[in-house]
Symmetry: C2
Subunit: 339 residues, 2 copies
Amino acid sequence: MIIDCHGHYTTAPSKLSAFRDAQLAGLKDGLDIPASAQRPISDDEIRESLENAQLKLQRDRGTDLTIFSPRASAMAHHLGNETTSRRWTRACNDLIHRVCTLYPENFAGVCQLPQSPAAPPAQSAGELERCVRELGFIGCNLNPDPSGGHWTSPPLTDRHWYPLYEKMVELDVPAMVHVSASCNPNFHATGAHYLNADTTAFMQFLTSDLFRDFPTLRFIIPHGGGAVPYHWGRYRGLAQDLKRPALEDSLLKNVYFDTCVYHLPGIELLLKVIPIENILFGSEMVGAVRGIDPRSGHHFDHTKRYIDAVPLSDGDRYRIFEGNARRVFPRLKVSATTR
Amino acid sequence: MIIDCHGHYTTAPSKLSAFRDAQLAGLKDGLDIPASAQRPISDDEIRESLENAQLKLQRDRGTDLTIFSPRASAMAHHLGNETTSRRWTRACNDLIHRVCTLYPENFAGVCQLPQSPAAPPAQSAGELERCVRELGFIGCNLNPDPSGGHWTSPPLTDRHWYPLYEKMVELDVPAMVHVSASCNPNFHATGAHYLNADTTAFMQFLTSDLFRDFPTLRFIIPHGGGAVPYHWGRYRGLAQDLKRPALEDSLLKNVYFDTCVYHLPGIELLLKVIPIENILFGSEMVGAVRGIDPRSGHHFDHTKRYIDAVPLSDGDRYRIFEGNARRVFPRLKVSATTR
């Protein structure tokens, strides 16, 4: 079975973004647009939005199940206030739940959190609990920078975030560290802000004792870990200079990387330097890069091709494509398929 | 001849940092400490600061010349005001000049710029001109984020920076894009802020027509280009999705990467995906990582070892170790040695 740990509902029916547009327009007029303003989305509209997108790509690429969350760039926690974020988050998560209910063999839900620059993370714990206990979600996306490129929140290792971590531990769900759109003109979202956040989070973890406080807390750092595997020697050296434990001992029981790296040499490096136990297959589809590489004739984000091109034992292939995801997302209950 | 394009004077005599300390202490009391407050540094003190550090490492590692600039993390453009920055910058640059005068075969100067969050880049052009025309410097370090981790300046592709670029073009000198210390607790300087800035700058260049306006402007992106080579497929795909020219056509006539990547797999990736013409040998010594890798018994930042371990033609080795640096830094006049 092949589990893609990183997919976003980037093709959601336009009624979802229409609600968001109304919500943001309302903000300008000082209005809180209620959730009831959203026009109902039919099951057929949901099916249509997926059949020629994620489901087609699953079939074409030979993957089975996508761990699926709302569009990351649209979370935009920096827009509006806490109420704005809470309503938008619920709308997005409820739609993911409907996707997972319609296609239980193809999708498992990961939720957006109702973060907002001024809101304490404890307020995200309630939505996480709702999504996990009532909707059957198996994880969440945690934005380390709800300000959208101004980085005004404390580091992820600060006690500021502990109430959310306590809930994650209680529910036994991991978080993918995932920023959203950038309102800082310095940072292109998918070309800089995303990768910077990945790199930043890893270094925050490296310099802290967070996992001593939460030994079972688990994070996935997406986009192949940002700059981290490419600079693995730098991080090993920094850990040593800073008198921190070796990375394998201090971080790799809690931190995982996905395979959203869009060329073979990058995947080769990832698989060479990061222990296989810490790598989860992911493609970020349909996501950051949508085109076809003219050199290969295949989509840039068809990351399974790159992994298939690396010589791996059956055990290691199983770990990357399925086993590690089951370990990191223990609430994932879908049974193995024999493809 | 082996030219290291990326070295900082991290071992400068303590009288330099004593001046800085006095300057920063003065700020608290509302005093502008004059340059004359700096205690004179003797030639012997300079020699001593280098003989057992950079010069010893050059000998040990078999490198010849270091393109040498003030300590990057100490630039700290966010501290104080424009006057603070101008005085500190002159003190640092003048000391680099003395190093290069004492050891003309071993060091060539690259200057710090008197940036400050509120100062227009035009004001850095004067110090650049002084350093190049009067002190014989061959390039500069340009901080894309003088706020020190708050990213409040316009992107490097904004016209805001053009007056400095005009001076760089007139003088025919490149800039290394290099941030300094971070006062944002989210960003560890050498473990996150540096790499993020590298990644950020590249994506800014990718999305702009800067090099149409300045066809001969040249930037070195240090630390192996941040996350960029590891994500080369992502950048090729983003360029295509954004209807930008291919990276080779649009950026690689103006943008270069150094080899400050502290393990062999990272260097292998860099040399595989980035054209050899765009790679300049660098070690960042004595710099970000000072320790010895217990696995190899060698310093993490002994980057020449990694390059030596990659099969390369004589021509490609020459380009990485000397030829590209001479092309990017045409003011470098030191003649080739036969080692």
